[in-house]
Each structure stands twice: as C-alpha cells, then as structure tokens.
Amino acid sequence: MSERTQVLRPESIEEAIQAVRELQGVPTLVKCGGSARNRGVSPGETEACLDLSSLNKITRLDPDDLSCGVQAGVSMKELEEALAPHGLALESGPFAPSPSTGAMGSRSIGGVLAEAPPAPRSFDRGRLRSQLIGLFAVDGHGRSFKAGGRVVKNVAGYDLCKLFVGSGGAFFVGLEFQLRLIALPARIVLLTSPPFGLEEGIAKWRELRKNLPTPRAMDLVFEENSCRIELLLGGSSAYVESQIRRTGFEPRLEGEAAWKGIGKEGADFEGTVFRGSCLPSRLSAWLQEGPLRGRIHYQGAFAWDRVPGGAPPEGILVHPTQLGGTQVPGTPPRDPGARRIAMELKRSFGGGLMPERLSFLTSAASMERSKEERS
C-alpha cells in the first residue's frame, strides 16, 4: 500500500456497498481487522484500501438455533466473548494464531473466512467451510447479493458461501455472515503425548486415527527429529476420563483454555510457511528426508515452516506461503479446466478486488493471450 492509497472506512453496510461501487475496477485491498497486512496486494499495487473494521456488529445470536449473524469486521475475540456465556463456540475454535498473521484476537471473522487458515479443530478445510451458512456480499463490480440463509441446513440457491471461504476476497467482499455454532461439550481436555521418535510418533498417530475415530482435534507436532501428539477431547466427563486412561497421555489444559490451547505453537513459525495436505499413508517415507518443523492435522492438512528436502511423493501437496504473503487461496488449480472456470469467476465477480490474489489467473490469462498471438 503506498502513501497515495485512498483508504475508505465505511460505517455501515450501505456505505460499504457504495464505496465498492465507486471503486469499481480500481485495484483494491480489502481488510477487516487490525491484523490484516498487505496480503494479496504488493506495495504500490493498490490504489484503494477498503477497511471494514467499523462493520463490527454482531447482528443476531440465537443460542437455541445454534447460529448467529456477524458483520465482517467483528473480531474473533469479540465473537468468542459473545458466545462463551451461552456455552457456544465456532466448531473450528477461536483459531490459533495464524503462522502468517500473528495475533489472533484482533483477527476479524471476515479475514478468517476469506483466508481460511487451517484450524486444528477443523477436519481440514471440511469444517470451516461448513460453518458459513449465509452471506451478504458485494462483488467487485459493486453488485450486492446474498446467498444461503440463517438456518443450519439449507440447499436453496447456489452455494456462493463456498466461493468466499478461502478465496482471499478475490471474488467479492463479504459484508455480513451467518454462522453455525456448536454447543460446547461438558468437558474439554487437551492431552499431550510424551515425545516420540519420528517413526514411532507417526505409527502412534496412525494407530490413534484408526482407533479413536472422532477426537475434536488431533495434531502430530514435529520438532526436528522428535514429535508429539496433541489430542483435544470433548464429551461427557466419563467418556473423556476413559480416553485419558486409554491413551495414557497427560492432560495439559482443561475447558476454554484447552479449546484455545491447541495449535498455539504455530505462532513461532518463521520465514516461509508451507501449507498443504498429505495422505497419511505416504507420510513417513517423505519425512525421512530431512529436518522439519510443523504440525499435521487429523485428516492430513499441514502447516510447516521447514519441509524435507526431497520432492514430495504423489499424495503430498506443498504450497509455499510467504509470511504475511499469499496463502492457500492463491494456490493455482492444477487442472486447466478448473483454472479456466476460476478465471471466468474472477472476470464475472472480482473486478479490481485483491488484484494479486489469484495472480495465477492473470499470468494464466497472459500465457493464453501470448499463445493466441503466437498462433
């Protein structure tokens, strides 16, 4: 963002729509909370910044229906504080500090959804994307629309919520969201295993995946040549107690602290962060190849700041992510057909929003153009 960048801070949904209409086509950075960096846009690239931090109202909270409505700039901390007295939470938890953004509490719900960080409790992208049940948005051409609704089960209309989660804001600006919530179980405990050697740890993790099919979260955490397992359990006291006995792991945190505690270590990731996914069955061969540090989630999503040296085998995908830079949302689809549709979507909805986000689209477009020119 350069000094000449025009900053717009709308105070209402209507003002936000108006602002996007006025900015049509202008390369625009959208940010919601204090923690937003220049993600998605390099300095000097943007001519405008749309700051949604003043859209900070929780518009409804219906504890009995396990759902709420929030504006984009509501911080995760505010949301959490509003939900806690009702024994409610987002299923993916109040996300751990993201490796790329640092402080958690100041992260806004809009940013969290747009960036879709891998949250330990989410069974990979699966769960975070299912928490957004409705959305009101304005696209890069200044056209507002809604999708989904307030109820937790709903198939009416196309699921544009899915296009927002993890999009980095490249297609439209989410202004208000409807979220599904969970009622927290009677007891929540975070267990930590003793340190294991790599092979032993991976074997234990695989065994637990098989025999303990539904933990709230289960991360395998690597530090150089050792690793440990973090296990978040929730349920009735009797059940949790039985699982503590069964695993022999040590209870480290209880209740809210446990819910928030898992995944904290991601905070000290450095430099390039690698995101990706791996098939559990292919993991161990690759890990023999060099030093690494990071964590792998229950279904195989990972975030690491050092990965083994060798090329990953089939079934392991690695996306490098600069600290504070482009993340998963910028990952180009490998398939040319999917890239084509992504470009259509960007053309149809995106306008000037987050120009470098999905930058592969522009480079793919220019490649296609030059191919056409050559022929």
Partner: protein
C-alpha cells in the same frame, strides 16, 4: 429416417445404448416429483467420461438440452426432463468404485454408483459413506452430489457437501474440469448442490468415515408434538451431538402401523422421537443417561432404547418406510422440504396444520428435527385436478411460512421444477442475478438441465426478502 442429431447419437453409442422408442422414453418422463412430466427426445447410456463429453458436445452442436439422470428419486423435479425435448443421459452403466484407500479414507467412484452400495463395498475395512438419504438403497452418488443430499444422520455428519473431496465433470462448454478441494477456489463446493445445471459429473472423490463402534437408538413417544420438539431443543443445546433426531407425527404413526412397515410405535402418541447416538462405546454409554434425562424432562409416554442391530432396524423401519406407508392415505404424495430454526419447530407445525386444513388437504409430518428440516407430506389424488391444485397451493403457502419464520424453502431436496417460483420467497433480483452469473461461468449457453432452479417471469422486487427489513440481513 433419422435426422442429423439422431444419426450422430447412433454413431457415438450404437443402437444398443440409445433409447428411441416412446415406451422406453416414457419411463424417464418424471422423477419423484409427481406434478410435472415431459418425455425426453432420446435416452443415452454412456459408459465413460469421454462418451459423456461427446454427448455434451453433441447437445451443444445441435442446440438440444442435456440432462443427466441417476436413479430418478429426486423429489423436486430435478431429474424430470425439461419441456423442450432433451437428451437424457442415463448413468446406470457407470456404477464402478474406481479406487479407494482405507487408510487415507477416500474413494473415487463413478456417478451412477448407488449410495448404499459404496458403504457395502468399503464396509469390510470398517468404513462407510456417511451421507444417508432415506433413498440410499436406490439413489446414486452423482444424484446426491447434484442435490447436496442430506439424510437422517447429517445432523452429526453433515450434508453431501461435507464429504466430497474432488469432482471431475464435463461443463456446459463440453470441457472437462477437475475440481479439487486441495487447490484453487472451492469449485467442489460450488458444483455440489448445483442440481445438474453446471455440467455432468463423471468421477467423484468422496470421504469415507470410520464406522461407529456402537450405535444406540432411543424411541420416545409424547402426548403432544410440542413436547417432542422441546425435547429436541434440549438435546441440541446440551453439547451432545446425536447422530439423528427424527420426529413422526400421529397421522404418520397411524399410516406406518397399518402398513408393512409397522415398527410397534405407540398408537396413542401424538409424536414419536427417534434419537440415535453413535461413536466409541464408552462415549455412547456415557452420554446415554443424559439423553434419557433430557427426554424425560418433557414427560414422555414411554422411552425405549436398544443397541441390538435387529431391534434398531425395527425402530427405524417405520421412519424409513414412512413415505411408502403414506400410499395408504391417498394415491399421490407431495413431499415438502422447508426448514425453520429448531426453536420454531412446534409453532411452525401448528401453522402448517392450519394451512392443510384451510386447503382441505390430508397432511402428515415426518422430519429431521435436529436441524429443523420439515417434511410436510401432502397426500392427494393426482386424478383430481382440483385436489392437486389445492395441494400445490398448500405447498407454496407452507414454504412461504418457513421463509417468514427465518428458514429456507429447501433443506435437502433441491429446487428443480417444484420450488423455482418459491425462490422468490428467499431471493430478490440481485441474488438471482448473482446465481445467473455464477451459472454462466460453468454453462454459458444454459444447455445443462435448463428450465429449473430459476423462477420464471419478472416482478422480483415483490420478493419476500424485502420483508426481512434491512437488506443486509441474510
């Protein structure tokens, strides 16, 4: 003498795999939505993705609409051919499990594979495919994907969309697209639930789930619908997540008990509530006393529970056979699919009953109570035009009511022909325009499953969404 379209189709698939004759085509003229019928121009039976691509290209060249069909169990007319004579793509010859990995818990399947068959195939490794529409013995993974199908157990395990990892499809330009959750924008989530309007899925990668170690089913009968609904709310709020929470009302109980699906439900009850817990045995047993306490707080007439597989099947038999049993009430049934917030279940059902009375329609309810997904069943005689009209009018009024209560016109059955006009209850012109632009990214010429989903005609500004007050609120 065959015209060009017919000749090209024959060249592509040969005469064994194309149906022309009127009797065969008639079989494809409707799905589970009994109100509308149109006969397709031809029925093609491809065996590979390449053949599907060739069919889409042919449809584009000849300007003929194209419509994929799984088992045809759709309840909203999604698999009913459009009025404009179409090329219907019957997927019954694409039913293979292509590959799977028990440890990595995924399977890659062809779209015509029947839902339950997949669970049977992967069962020996302690896995299953979690989405379980009540039609799962017949409905296909491709049809489930297109409709984003739910089912009794999606309260805990999520809808089809939560279990699809990747989709390979031929889009409305006749090009292959491989959408994968691993990279790029979430095209998988967009395609799921798009009701065949974005293209035809040729391969689907689904998530497999570990089979639960123990399953315990409870049946609680109540003297009023209100107390059954309140029991559901108590359970939903307590932090235990049952696999299923299903309610049947008195009329349904009577129909079921008089039929071959008799499950031994108490006939003096106004409502029965089925609750199912599943998971590790320790968890199920630890949660059971709490569930019983919560059920008892609403003073049930009786509570029964069992972990025995045969007994559980008996308790579910009535629920699973409920739609079949309705055949005792009238020759035709129109299954609605509205959703309301769970806290409004009881009050909405009272209103629903009034609407049925007002239109003189026999109306019964069997529904997914945990997530507020109502299935009011309107029984009517399709031979009686007046009764059919009244059933349709009652249906629209009920969907309108659901939206007014903060809900939706569809929880799992989709829009299709049935609810396309009701889309205006939820969405205004801007929303529909966004849907239209989205569709154009996949199928710019609207060749895939046209005439559905979008309402006909103008006058959108009268849409219900204006009545929500502030536009910003979804």
């Amino acid at each position: 003498m065959k015209n060009r379209f017919e000749q090209k189709l024959l060249e592509l698939l040969g005469k064994e795999r194309v149906f022309w004759d009127p009797a065969a085509r008639l079989c494809y003229s409707l799905d589970g939505y009994p109100i509308q019928k149109h006969t397709p121009r031809a029925v093609a039976l491809p065996e590979t993705g390449q053949e599907i691509q060739a069919l889409v290209k042919l449809a584009l060249e000849e300007g003929v609409p194209i419509l994929p069909r799984g088992a045809g169990t759709c309840l909203s007319g999604g698999a009913t051919p459009p009025k404009e004579p179409c090329l219907l793509v019957e997927l019954a010859r694409m039913r293979n499990l292509l590959s799977w990995s028990p440890e990595d818990r995924y399977a890659i399947v062809q779209p015509g594979l029947v839902n339950l068959d997949l669970s049977v195939l992967v069962g020996p490794k302690g896995l299953y495919y979690a989405p379980d529409p009540s039609s799962q013995k017949a409905s296909t993974i491709g049809g489930n994907l297109a409709e984003n199908a739910g089912g009794p157990h999606c309260f805990k395990y999520g809808m089809t969309t939560d279990h699809i990892l990747a989709v390979r499809f031929v889009d409305g330009r006749g090009e292959f697209v491989h959408a994968d959750l691993e990279d790029g924008p979430d095209l998988v989530g967009l395609f799921t639930g798009s009701e065949g309007t974005f293209g035809i899925a040729t391969e689907i990668k689904v998530r497999l789930s570990p089979s639960p170690e123990r399953i315990k089913t409870f049946l609680a009968s109540y003297p009023s619908m209100e107390s059954a609904c309140k029991a559901v709310s108590r359970i939903v709020r307590c932090g235990i997540v049952p696999a299923a929470l299903e309610i049947l009302d008195r009329l349904t109980i009577e129909a079921v008990e008089a039929s071959v699906f008799a499950a031994g439900y108490p006939r003096d009850a106004e409502a029965v509530l089925l609750v199912e817990l599943d998971g590790p045995a320790t968890e199920v047993e630890a949660d059971s006393p709490r569930v019983v306490d919560l059920l008892e707080e609403e003073r049930p007439l009786a509570i029964e529970s069992t972990t025995d597989a045969e007994q559980r099947l008996r308790l579910w038999k009535g629920r699973k056979g409920a739609f079949g049993a309705m055949g005792r009430l009238k020759p035709n049934i129109f299954v609605l699919d509205g959703v309301v917030p769970t806290s409004k279940l009881a009050s909405t059902l009272e209103q629903v009953a009034k609407i049925g009375k007002k239109h003189g329609i026999v109306l019964s309810n069997v529904f997914h109570a945990g997530d507020g997904n109502l299935h009011p069943n309107l029984s009517f005689d399709g031979r009686d035009p007046d009764e059919t009209k009244r059933a349709m009018a009652a249906g629209m009024e009920i969907l309108d009511l659901c939206v007014r209560e903060g809900g939706s016109i569809s929880g799992e059955h989709g829009i299709g022909f049935e609810k396309r006009e009701a889309m205006r209850f939820m969405f205004d012109e801007e929303d529909l325009d966004a849907f239209g632009r989205l569709r154009a990214c996949f199928d710019p010429r609207r060749v895939c499953n046209p005439e559905k989903f979008f309402p006909t005609g103008g006058g959108c500004k009268e849409g219900r969404s204006a009545q929500f007050g502030e536009k910003s609120i979804v």
